[in-house]
Symmetry: C2
Subunit: 426 residues, 2 copies
């Protein structure tokens, strides 16, 4: 399938929170206590919330940088592509990259929102968290209908509050929460405790997917203090297999037949081995471990309850039927360094060479739309939603590369978006 004909819905992107996020969204008594951006004497921008100072306002938000500088984190809004934090600019970048839909994980609150819980005043924490979700749903997603899959943060410190927030955001059309890959690592009850049941119950009743992003346990995969950073970069996606095993063997899928998880940024090529391993573990060991899945195998349970995704994963594509063709989705990972924006469609075309169009469509958008109850075609015709059509809208939008050091602009090697846009409109 040609890149230009694809329809792309990304289940894993990232937004950087703009400074005005909490303005007018909190009761008067909390407005002064809300997280705020402070411009430091050094010229950096940092988020502050109570005692907490979070300098990584856009950790790894390197879209539009030369690869030589991927390790240099932006420390101010000035240093980032506006598409990181300005939703209008984001939509233009999505158009240039041929991306129709996008689900955006939070930055400064952490993937699981633990920053909001790290305050002595839990009422304040909840108010701030709800203000965040309202902003995300109403402003970020609401400003471009049909372009964003809304996603909410939950108050992990209280399962009943979590469940209530799931219900509150679901009523606003939000069918995804960003959870942690391991609550036990964050000091909460593990996935094996019944104390989380109200959350799963609320998710099941409201068709809400529990999206679990790599790194959301608050722990990086570090083999040794002096290990090169390449080790961590290599291992991070696959490490989500720990959450997959933890959840798969837990009581949750047994007790909640409608629960659905997404393994965000976890890749797919390792899944067939993983499924073979869980099935062998079951066959060899369940007689003494006491696992009882009735007439199902663990791999069946996985396919019923887990969505996977990849940026560009040739092994996952080759083995797609061992994973489950209905269990694979695509992610862009904008604006992080693993992303191929704005040439992702061309990368995807190469990786999917030879895959039947019906299967490409499942992977690039249909599975994501079904899983997250997202219907972009309410807002635009399908013919207006292809890579080519979106790039035509982006004609003239600047996607050049800017270096910290030289300030020079240069077009990234690979596809000339301007040219593609010209062709599309010709």
């Amino acid at each position: 399938m040609q890149a230009e004909d694809m329809i792309l819905v990304s289940v894993d992107d990232h937004l950087v929170e703009p400074p005005h996020l909490f303005e007018g969204r909190l009761p008067a008594k909390y407005q002064d206590l809300a997280p705020k951006v402070v411009h430091t004497e050094r010229g950096d921008d940092v988020w502050t919330f109570g005692e907490q100072v979070i300098p990584n306002i856009g950790l790894n938000a390197v879209a539009g940088r030369p690869k030589e500088e991927y390790g240099v984190e932006p420390t101010s809004f000035e240093e980032m592509r506006p598409g990181c934090f300005d939703v209008g600019e984001r939509v233009k970048d999505m158009n240039a990259g041929g991306v129709l839909g996008s689900m955006c994980f939070p930055s400064f609150p952490s993937f699981s929102g633990r920053v909001f819980g790290a305050t002595g005043d839990k009422d304040l924490g909840l108010a701030v968290l709800q203000a965040y979700n309202d902003w995300h749903i109403e402003e970020w997603c609401g400003s471009a209908p049909g372009r964003f899959i809304p996603m909410a943060i939950t108050p992990l410190w209280d399962a009943e509050l979590c469940a209530a927030e799931v219900r509150r955001v679901a009523a606003k059309g939000c069918h995804s929460i960003t959870f942690t890959e391991n609550p036990a690592m964050l000091g909460f009850d593990s996935f094996h405790s019944a104390s989380w049941d109200p959350v799963w119950q609320a998710c099941c009743e409201n068709d809400v997917v529990v999206s679990i992003h790599l790194g959301s346990s608050g722990q990086l995969v570090v083999t040794a203090p002096d290990a090169p950073v390449d080790v961590m970069i290599t291992l991070q996606p696959m490490n989500i297999c720990q959450a997959a095993a933890d959840l798969l063997w837990s009581r949750i899928p047994k007790q909640f037949p409608d629960i659905r998880f997404a393994l965000s940024e976890g890749g797919t090529g390792w899944i067939p081995y993983f499924l073979d391993r869980v099935d062998r573990t079951y066959e060899m060991h369940h007689l003494w471990t006491g696992q009882d899945l009735g007439d199902r195998m663990p791999s069946d349970v996985f396919r019923e309850h887990f969505l996977t995704c990849f940026i560009a994963d040739p092994v996952g594509v080759q083995l797609r039927h061992l994973i489950g063709i209905d269990n694979i989705s695509w992610e862009c990972d904008y604006p992080h360094s693993d992303s191929s924006w704005p040439e992702a469609p061309e990368e995807l075309e190469a990786v999917m060479a030879g895959v039947p169009e019906a299967e490409v469509n499942k992977i690039t958008f249909e599975n994501a739309c079904r899983w997250y109850r997202f219907d972009p075609f309410v807002h635009r015709f399908r013919s207006e939603s292809t890579v080519a059509a979106l790039r035509a809208e982006a004609a003239g939008h600047d996607v050049s590369t800017r270096s910290y050091d030289t300030g020079r602009y240069e077009r990234r090697k690979g596809v000339d978006i301007g040219k593609l846009a010209e062709q599309a409109t010709a």
Copy 2:
């Protein structure tokens, strides 16, 4: 290829140390201080060494047990199949299982031998370690020439001593050491420190493979204290990807072109994804991380330096050419619970269905023989080395299943070894 025609060399099995191991192998001043087996009042056998008491004499040595009892660890020699600790019986079990050659990891000293280092008297520790290696090479392997790949433990607490021990055992024909998957986790310098260089140098000069067994960092993969044991069983093999990434990105393969590692019990189906991931990591990030592999990709480095293995891994077999057909070997894992002994050949036949004979041979024995400098055919003809020929020798050997609870004997479901042996001799 038919199971009966296969030649099987297993690169990962386990021996349980017999009580007499250290007898007559230490200087007089150390003989009384050597590790010894104590029969407790409860009827258990434990190894003791100084202050250390190691109750798990044969952790997970469950060969010949019904699967319902795999979780019940044997706590005495009485409760184990003699093939676990008696080399004569082991060879009979190998014959019954059709296994020509075997490399046996240690049990009570731990995979990395850290028990020997946990003594205030390092001279004693070294003497005991060398006695162990001498016993392993001379008695365990020496009693059945051509049936065992010798393997040595090294004194991790001193890299120069390690190097000297590598040279000492290599002079005895031992071309494999059992190392740790992460020395940093054991409190030593990490793989990224030059302090280990004498070890790698000695290995390169003496054609010695650094065999790295899962779990040899001394840490299990535990997601939460209340996680079901199935989570740990599932994750343990794949977790060796951490050691693979740590070593691959380290200075070792760059500095020591002849170094060779084996990822023992790590499985193979996840490797193609892993190789794609390391290559992508290199492409996307090396300009800022500073990795420089010259004209090679990380996947090339992997194939030059790493041997993998599987028990039965359909995904690994399917993707064997993405792994490297010269980088895959087979393991039996006797007497642990993941093993399919004595029906491993039949399992292998099913998993390898459709694979050309030349490739099956590489996987079942040729790669192991080349990698570990092991030539069984000096000792017996190839026609005497097949599964069928070995099983014929085992005719009459009892492989029945014994239960702790009932004491009843019953044949394991699946292949009837006696019948196979009869057929082979008919």
